[in-house]
Amino acid sequence: MLFNSIVFITFMAIVMPVFYLLKDRQHKKWWILFASYFFYGYWDWRFLGLLIFSSVMDFYLGKAIFSANENRIKKNWLIFSLIANLTILGVFKYYNFFVGSFQEMFSVNLDFLHLNVILPVGISFYTFQSLSYTFDVYRGRMKPEGNLLDYILFVAFFPQLVAGPIERAIDLLPQVKMLKNPGRSGVWDGFLLISLGMFKKVLIGDTIAKYVDHVFTDANYYSSPELLAALLMFAIQIYADFSGYSNIARGCAKLMGVDLVINFRQPYLSHNITDFWRRWHISLSSWLKEYLYIWGLGGNKRSKIRTYVNLLLTMLIGGFWHGANYTFIIWGGIHGLALAVHKWFCELTGNPRVTHGHYLAKMLGGVVTFIVVLFAWLFFRAPDLTTATYFLESFIHWKGSDLAMDLFFITFSYYIVSFFFDFVEHRYGELFMRNLNIVYQLAILMPVWIVIVMYLFSIGKPMPFIYFQF
């Protein structure tokens, strides 16, 4: 089920009143668990079993890790959890990619080995979420969850099940255990977040996607300014799409008294690439930093060269997490290289603080960072390397288009709106909304919702979230 659909509004209109009317906390949990499985199963009920199996497996593995007497046995259980989770992920997401790559590399026919599988929605997200639980139990950061219902609800919690934020068990589990009615301010905050998210997803992300999808799919029919416009628009699309989704997820969770992590903090205003990764998809970048970069690879505790290699490796794996395609690996590699270069530069200039510097230097840094990020987005979005190469060749051998001015105008309009929303949301949103009478807030929100609903009725199928494919 997609957040940006009329049927989701119907879903919430049924789920939330029942949640509020139920008095017993256990009943609330069972109801939300049922709603979560319904939400997931609406997409494809056949993969519910996989979700339930994965959740139950990690619940018992967490107990096994904790109750093991020797470190060696603890480690073995941890490795078992890692292998089991990554095998499930690998089979559905990466198996065909490796078979195909092997075929190409060695020119052998291995078509018979290809599996006819659909990628289960959200598998990358709930796998990482489950792994964070077993990792934290192993590291002694938390005790294993004793209640199966609480644990499977933590994994299946519908606001963040299919596209994050990737929540740590240590943060989300205690909240899920205490599911409650949030009170009037919590409900209102939730509604505001959902409204903001819906506007960003439906009226920015989805509308801009129509142009972007056409151009990236049939790139060879478009000229240089049209391709550049599509790339610039994609930068807005992915931000509006994903941050909008995260807003809706946080809003839905807030309606149940749960606080999810903030996933974005004005990433396009970053002064450098390190800053960017503290503002973009924060739940994933912090997961990768803590569990892979620091704990797994040693972080910056070893030699300088090793630190740069660790950064590159972390981002390559981060890229690969997004999808089984060389374009995602290249995307991760570009970011890894940029992070390494930035780290080296900071060490060279003796400037260890990420955001320190004269405002002109920050501005220049911001522009350079945006260009690097935009360049990387090309590989992220392009369906294959051929398309990405075509884009780059078109930028080098520039050919004009009589549609350039029109496209510039449309692109500029979207940028203005997106930056305005971003600014309002992160700098003055809360202040504004807290001080504004609720009647006036409704006076703004009602027309927005009317337009959103009208738009959703005017289209055929709603656009899926970009991160659903991961």
């Binding site: 009329i6 509308t207 151009v215 029919y221 006076a443 027309p447 009208m454 738009y455 009725f457 055929g460």
Partner: protein
């Protein structure tokens, strides 16, 4: 009071946002007193459906070119295209339209400038496009050759397009003009709004355009299927599987073909299309009365470009079949018609 003002401001801001980002493109049609629904001239238009189009209509509501009504240079060879949304072709950019391919190829082959004017209009049938051609295009425009695109659905007796159409009158034994579109609720509403002086503002309002599209969307996709999703029967999706239909030649269509072929003026050539319905009725009729025609079956084998696996109708980006030619389809049609017509024109010139 302040709440109402805030709502009005919010609506205004949303209205402008919808307009500037082209989320709601302008309403393309207006009602002409004589001809009914025509394209609005001089508007920028953005269309996302199965394909993508960005462009502008000219002084006379046509896309793609700004040729004047009369030829500037008498040596220019001018082709006029008449038809429906297939001909209008606003699912691809103008430079990918088959008319552009025709101009490029035929100019080179014939050695002189070729202009192709596109009078295709979405949802238009033979009954309405022929009326428009005979009463307007033919009188106002220079043309050396007219390509009339027709398909099996044009044999239907009734045209539901809100445009002045030919219908067959049994009492008169001939085709007569019908302005039944003037009786429709849509026209009456538009006329009332126009008389009130509100139509201009509404047409330029992003919110009104969105409301218009919402109405169309509900009509197309349903209200309850959207609200209840999979738990409510969803509207059937048209599948473009090949099947032959048995149709009969209608009196109206027969009389129209007759009039178009025999009227003095530029040569009229019928272009037969066999998608989405395949029917040999048109081809058999054309053969029986010896009208000039070109059958697109010679280049398109139903959905595919002949001798290839290239689908001429499928749009990869949206995964949709809207029933219109994609880039490959336009290229195939453009190349095919250019070669056929260039050869035919060269032969005629040699004969003369």
């Amino acid at each position: 009071m302040i709440g109402t003002l805030i709502t009005v401001i919010a609506l205004f801001v949303l209205d402008q946002y919808l307009k500037f980002t082209r989320i709601t493109p302008p309403i393309l049609k207006y009602y002409h007193d004589e001809y009914g629904a025509l394209n609005v001239p001089n508007i920028k238009y953005l269309k996302f459906k199965e394909g993508l189009f960005l462009g502008q209509t000219n002084y006379d509501g046509r896309f793609r070119e700004h040729y004047p009504k009369r030829k500037i240079d008498s040596s220019t060879f001018r082709i006029v295209l008449v038809g429906d949304s297939f001909v209008e072709g606003i699912d691809v950019y103008s430079r990918h339209h088959f008319a552009t391919h025709m101009e490029d190829i035929m100019s080179k082959k014939l050695g002189n400038k070729v202009e192709v004017l596109n009078f295709g209009r979405g949802n238009c049938t033979l009954q309405s496009s022929s009326y428009y051609y005979l009463n307007y295009i033919k009188k106002e425009y220079d043309a050396d050759l007219v390509l009339f695109f027709v398909e099996a659905r044009d044999l239907s007796q009734i045209s539901d397009y809100p445009s002045t159409s030919f219908v067959f009158s049994d009492s008169l034994g001939d085709i007569v003009a019908s302005k039944s579109w003037m009786e429709t609720l849509d026209f009456k509403l538009v006329k009332t709004l126009k008389d009130m002086g509100a139509l201009y503002y509404l047409n330029n309002s992003g919110l009104f355009r969105l409301a218009y599209r919402t109405k169309s969307g509900i009509g197309m996709y349903g209200f309850f299927p959207k609200v209840f999703g999979k738990f409510f029967p969803q509207p059937a999706v048209q599948t473009y599987d090949r099947f032959e239909v048995n149709l009969e030649m209608s009196k109206t269509a027969g009389r129209i073909f007759d009039t178009l072929s025999k009227e003095s003026g530029p040569r009229v050539l019928f272009i037969l299309r066999n998608f989405p319905l395949e029917s040999s009725v048109l081809q058999r009729y054309m053969d029986s009365v010896d009208y000039d025609y070109i059958d697109l079956k010679d280049t398109l084998d139903y959905k595919y470009v002949r001798n290839t696996t290239d689908d001429a109708y499928f749009f990869k980006a949206t995964g949709l079949y809207g029933g219109h030619w994609n880039h490959l389809g336009h290229k195939a049609i453009g190349y095919f018609l250019s070669n056929r017509l260039s050869n035919s024109i060269s032969r005629r010139e040699q004969t003369h």
